[in-house]
């Protein structure tokens, strides 16, 4: 199967080039040209206003899944405690189920966990499927997969969401393969397509450089894992229904054993994975100047970074450098302190979600890429910010 362009019909509008997820179309001799990279996905066919893009690919029949009902959430618990992302997913599930006119169910596996069902109902589960078995004391892929397979086959859900945790990312692909359905990883947004009624799964791709919308048209349930912290929890008044599902499990079919579980404090994380980055430039003055940045980073659960100059001066280590020769970062909050914003530095941080610039020079180019700028001395602003956030945290959480 191939895709080609009828050059007589093509008016070089470039819509297909924009639509191509694979960068496989370019303009050549005044019309669109399909490169070898093309995977025949058909995205260009749909957007061409002149119907100049043609294919011999016959579209696959989309099966009728109108009998599949229900939005399921995997209620992940560790040591009898529900993970926060499970409740966040219940919040999103209520929204999706509302649009579809369907119900929300939570799937809870573990040992001596029946007291968690009330919390799941409180946060939006109409039904909780609860499986209690001694062999489920610790999470194990084979045990969980077998039981979820049984449950899915019996109740035939439409959508099944799991948190993208170390457990969710181990379990979801195993389950998806077992029950022969597609799976989308690490979604940051979910919605229902109003025309087709399918789940639209949005996730970062290509190292976070693009966002992709993914559909799961050929199998049910539509499975996705969702990043923790993205969706919002919503309590829901009313009652829920708990269904105790009898788990039959034999130790010899599980094939793994958890020998021990050890809790450890987090070590310093990678800049590219940091949610908050407090970055310093020449304006920080010297190595000691970074101390106030570190204090702010600590209260905001972030990491400290620096520009090329600060690394060359030896104020911070090279692995903390942001910019074209350093790392490209994409945190949710980037606070640029005493950074003028050379083009190389901007290239390394301009995809951050929110950018704050603090600089005494109002003409510094960093202000052009900032959401909020403060024209002031960082040695006044940064400690004040640390102080206010600390005070608020102490008041709210008592720590």
């Amino acid at each position: 199967m191939t895709v080609w362009v009828e050059t007589d019909l093509c008016d070089a509008c470039k819509l297909c080039i924009k639509a191509c997820p694979y960068g496989a179309i370019e303009l050549k001799g005044g019309s669109a040209y399909i490169l070898e990279r093309c995977t025949s996905c058909g995205a260009c066919l749909e957007v061409c206003p002149k119907a100049a893009v043609l294919t011999d690919f016959k579209p696959r029949q989309i099966p009728d899944f109108s009998d599949r009902k229900g939005v399921w959430v995997f209620a992940e618990q560790r040591g009898g405690k529900l993970t926060r992302v499970s409740l966040e997913l219940l919040g999103k599930a209520q929204e999706l189920a509302g649009e579809l006119g369907q119900e929300v169910s939570a799937v809870l596996l573990g040992h001596q966990i029946s007291d968690l069902t009330a919390t799941l109902v409180e946060y939006g589960a109409d039904t909780v499927y609860c499986m209690d078995h001694e062999a489920l004391k610790h999470y194990r892929s084979n045990a969980y997969t077998k039981l979820i397979e049984e449950l899915v086959n019996q109740y035939q859900p439409n959508i099944f969401l799991l948190g993208a945790t170390h457990i969710g990312r181990d379990l979801a692909p195993r389950v998806s393969r077992r029950i022969a359905v597609g799976l989308t990883a690490d979604c940051t947004e979910l919605s229902i397509d109003s025309k087709e009624g399918i789940l639209l799964q949005i996730r970062p791709a290509f190292g976070g450089n693009v966002m992709a919308t993914i559909a799961n048209r050929y199998s049910r349930p539509q499975m996705a894992t969702v990043r923790p912290g993205v969706m919002e929890m919503h309590k829901k008044p009313g009652k829920g229904n708990v269904i105790e599902y009898k788990a039959v499990l034999f130790e010899n079919e599980i094939k793994t054993r958890v020998l021990k579980v050890v809790k450890e404090k987090k070590k310093g994380i990678d800049l590219s994975e940091a949610n908050v980055i407090i970055a310093g430039g020449r304006g920080v003055g010297d190595a000691n100047g970074f101390d106030i940045l570190r204090e702010l980073a600590e209260v905001m659960d972030g990491q400290v970074a620096g520009t090329r100059v600060t690394v060359e001066e030896g104020w911070i280590p090279p692995e903390n450098q942001v910019g074209q020769t350093g790392r490209t970062v994409r945190p949710e909050i980037y606070i640029a302190c005493g950074i003028s914003g050379a083009v190389q530095h901007r290239a390394g941080m301009m995809n951050s979600r929110y950018i704050i610039a603090i600089n005494t020079d109002s003409r510094a180019p960093i202000f052009q890429v900032a959401d909020w700028g403060i024209v002031a001395d960082l040695f006044d602003v940064v400690p004040e910010m640390t102080r206010q956030l600390k005070e608020a945290k102490e008041k709210t959480f008592g720590i």
Partner: protein, 278 residues
């Protein structure tokens, strides 16, 4: 001990540049590399080979130029390479990819251990390992940070969790996905890499017919999920200068941050400061 390592050639996504005018990705000149986590998988396999007098086969699915990463693997000490390459494999999602890799592994035959990197930097899905394990009906342990002990029957590994780790024992054969913490990969030996480029070298290429799959099971046609749209996230910068005395300025900034949408870090600020959404 027979070990199979699954690797992928990926574009170096940390190096991606955007066309400032159109906002689209510049793909030309983007370097192709051996996926970083997979390098650790190779190192783990070669270390086990050295300790147990084992045999290591590296498998990759990709276009013909992906032979480069197999050559590199042989340079690290792997015994043989198999490249799964066919236009029919193109555009595969993880379902179709795991079918292809699973079929190929069945073709290879006996194995005690399969080792993969945790995830590839171009897709970041971390799905292939568990999906291949289920395809082959073998147990899996993901996020492996250390191989503590291994004998003919079982392996004991340290599995990394968000808040610590667990020690897991698994029967063999099994599949492990490893994280970078597990080892420091060696540099490939240039002599071995050059030898791998000879015609009679230990790298074979298999197509769809070689592994016995039809075009409907693999590639885009065999996929269950499809990308229906991609876009480059572009944020409208508010470009607002906050003025006033330090205390007031900071208070305003915190409020603005806390009321910003689409960020967990902002939500954390809002929660601490008890801000209501605007």
């Amino acid at each position: 001990m027979d070990i199979i390592v699954l690797v992928k050639q990926v574009p170096n996504t940390t190096d991606v540049k955007l066309d400032e005018k159109t906002g689209s990705l510049i793909r030309e000149g983007l370097e192709s590399i051996l996926n970083p986590d997979d390098r650790h998988a190779l190192e783990a396999a070669v270390q086990l080979k050295e300790a147990t007098k084992g045999h290591v086969t590296v498998v990759s699915m990709g276009p013909p130029q992906a032979i480069e990463v197999l050559t590199e693997a042989i340079g690290m000490g792997v015994d043989q390479g198999i490249l799964l390459s066919d236009t029919a494999f193109a555009g595969a999602d993880t379902w179709a990819t795991s079918s292809t890799l699973g079929k190929a592994i069945q073709q290879i035959g006996k194995f005690d251990l399969i080792i993969c990197g945790r995830q590839a930097i171009d897709g970041d899905t971390a799905q292939i390992g568990p999906q291949v394990a289920d395809y082959l009906h073998v147990p899996q342990v993901t996020y492996v940070a250390e191989i503590d002990n291994i004998d003919e029957k079982s392996v004991i590994v340290k599995r990394r969790l968000e808040d610590g780790y667990e020690m897991v024992e698994s029967e063999l054969p099994a599949l492990l996905t490893v994280i970078s913490e597990i080892n420091k990969p060696r540099y490939p030996d240039v002599g071995k890499m050059i030898a791998a480029c000879h015609e009679d070298a230990s790298i074979k290429t298999w197509n769809a017919a070689d592994i016995g799959v039809t075009v409907h099971e693999v590639g885009l046609a065999g996929s269950l999920t499809h990308v229906i749209k991609t876009y480059v996230p572009k944020f409208k910068r508010q470009g607002e200068i906050i003025e006033g005395d330090t205390k007031a300025v900071v208070r305003e900034l915190i409020q603005k941050l806390g009321r910003s949408e689409g960020s967990t870090a902002c939500k954390a600020v809002a929660a601490a400061c008890r801000l209501e959404a605007s």
